[in-house]
């Protein structure tokens, strides 16, 4: 099999991930909690941090990207898995109501649809994304991002420019 998996003791490996990220990037916070390496980074360094995780530390799997709308700021969680029990959880906070962040599709190609979903639901603009379209909502004439807290569930959906 061509893909090589990390071996050895899980605790050592997690400490290695944290060191590897710490040495190359300025982490705002970095701790090992159980089987998870939790790091908080600035939004502009997310693509570099994930590139380090993938290329140097060989954390191969991006599980999902969660966006949380904290009304005034957006928190993004990138869940990375090394497929052998270890998890690297990269968090970042984007201030403001019009979030922009660099895309990680060239690091983890699977981020393509996760970022499309985040754009669709929250309006997060991913700089450098090859194909930033909506996944679930209508492609045309629909101006809302439904998972924003400002989108009330009783909102009547409007299609701008239609009729």
């Amino acid at each position: 099999m061509a893909v090589s998996f990390p071996g050895g003791d899980l605790a050592d490996r997690l400490a290695g991930y944290l060191d590897g990220l710490n040495n190359r990037h300025g982490l705002e916070e970095g701790v090992v909690e159980g089987n998870v390496v939790r790091v908080v980074v600035a939004p502009e360094s997310v693509p570099q941090v994930l590139a380090t995780a993938r290329e140097q530390l060989k954390v191969l799997h991006l599980s999902f990207i969660t966006v949380v709308d904290w009304e005034g700021s957006f928190e993004l969680t990138y869940e990375l898995m090394d497929l052998r029990g270890g998890t690297v959880r990269v968090k970042t906070v984007i201030e403001g109501t019009e979030p922009v962040i660099g895309s990680v599709t060239n690091v983890y190609p699977t981020a393509n649809w996760h970022e499309r979903e985040a754009y669709d639901m929250f309006g997060v603009a991913f700089r450098g994304h090859p194909d930033l379209r909506r996944t679930y909502m209508w492609q045309d004439h629909f101006d809302h991002h439904p998972l924003l807290k400002s989108f009330d569930i009783s909102t009547k959906r409007t299609f701008e420019g239609l009729r």
């Binding site: 099999m1 599980s63 999902f64 949380v68 052998r84 699977t110 649809w113």
Partner: protein
């Protein structure tokens, strides 16, 4: 009639037998045109409401662009507006062919943020239900694959087995499809008396019937082999890049199973193998599913043997108010990695719930794998992913 030279150029392959033109520029040189075609959302062979925008060069697919959202029910928004226990029945509606796994992922995430302890009997019942559900999902998914290839018999045998398993699930939970059996802190009710013996008896019969009616019937069939071998072929690196999990990933030889590598519930106490295959095509994922059926039977037998006595529900109080923070739940659903991320702000309902559904993530491989295949090969490739509409659309 094409000249010899021109024909050679037109069918020149890029070396991978993919059918993709080696020199796209000859298209304009010879005035060749491609055709755009919509497949679905209403298509008799499509897995639910999926629309594929295809660019065809003759019968070869040049581009495949899945369009989703026809069954979007804003599950995540609904989950933000309901109290924690009231979200469990909604998760049943996500991947409606593996409801138990959705419930399991969600309750694990909430229990994570609640720091709850679950009684051992409840954990064993959860594993029992998960593996029964896996059987009830894997066996028909093999049948669906054959149905898409034009064979009608395997699906009938598969649904006969699913029906029997659903009878057990109904006896345990009280519902046939939308179970709402898992609760935050345990399960709804204890097992009815005598059900374990009945399941054990049923498994004895299932082993023989599955071997003769599905494995022997399908595996050697010439048409099946011709339609699935080397179709949808991908390398392990490609599969990992595309975020594929579950049987399609294990079919490429990547030895990854949440049950073993990110253990939850009582899986560490149980003995089972992770089935892999090296071919990386549709036939490989089929063989992985066959192997997982045998492993599920093995797990259920161990669970029946080890089932402890005791309560099935932890006392977490009437009103669930978790601490502020994140909760994560991750389970191996029949389709791959199902993960739930719950963000709590300390109130009665979640501030944010995010579902990572394997159908959604695995479907990305359509964009990468389908180009170069013939149009009729799309159906076996979809059968390999076995996506469920409720899953990818949330």
């Amino acid at each position: 009639m094409l000249s010899e030279e021109r024909r050679n150029e037109t069918v020149a392959l890029d070396g991978t037998a993919s059918g993709r033109l080696a020199r796209p520029d000859i298209r304009s040189e010879f005035g060749l045109e491609t055709m755009d075609m919509n497949m679905g959302p209403q298509h008799p062979a499509m897995h639910g409401l999926l629309r594929l925008i295809l660019e065809l060069d003759g019968e070869t697919v040049m581009r495949c662009d899945p369009v989703m959202g026809y069954l979007h029910r804003s599950q995540e928004k609904i989950a933000e507006n309901r109290m924690y226990p009231a979200v469990v029945p909604m998760t049943d509606r996500l991947d409606y062919f593996a409801n138990i796994h959705n419930e399991h992922g969600y309750v694990l995430a909430v229990e994570d943020v609640l720091d709850a302890e679950i009684p051992p009997r409840a954990e064993y019942i959860r594993v029992l239900m998960s593996e029964l559900m896996r059987l009830a999902s894997h066996i028909p998914s093999i049948g669906f694959l054959m149905l898409e290839l034009g064979a009608f018999t395997p699906i009938l045998y598969a649904f006969r087995e699913r029906e029997r398993i659903q009878n057990f699930l109904e006896a345990i939970t009280g519902a046939r499809m939308m179970f709402h059996y898992f609760r935050i802190g345990g399960v709804k009710a204890d097992l009815p008396p005598g059900i374990l013996e009945e399941i054990s008896e049923y498994l004895d019969g299932l082993e023989g019937r599955f071997q003769t009616d599905t494995v022997d019937l399908v595996t050697g069939s010439e048409i099946y082999v011709a339609r699935t071998k080397d179709v949808g072929k991908m390398t392990p690196e490609q599969a990992l890049d595309m975020g594929v999990t579950g049987p399609p990933l294990r079919g490429t030889g990547v030895d990854f199973d949440i049950r073993r590598d990110y253990p939850y519930s009582v899986y560490p106490e149980l003995d089972f193998d992770v089935v892999t295959d090296d071919a990386g095509d549709v036939a490989a994922s089929y063989r992985v599913r066959i192997g997982e059926v045998w492993q599920s039977i093995r797990i259920i037998r161990q669970v029946i043997e080890k089932m402890p006595e005791g309560p099935v529900m932890a006392d977490l109080g009437r009103r669930l108010r978790p601490r502020e923070g994140d909760g994560f739940g991750r389970v191996e659903s029949p389709r791959g990695e199902f993960a739930v991320h719950v963000v709590s702000d300390g109130s009665d309902s979640a501030y944010r719930v995010h579902y990572r559904d394997p159908s959604f993530c695995n479907m990305q491989l359509l964009q990468e794998v389908v180009p170069g295949h013939y149009l009729p090969d799309i159906m076996p490739i979809l059968g390999m992913i076995d996506p469920v509409s409720g899953g990818w659309d949330k």
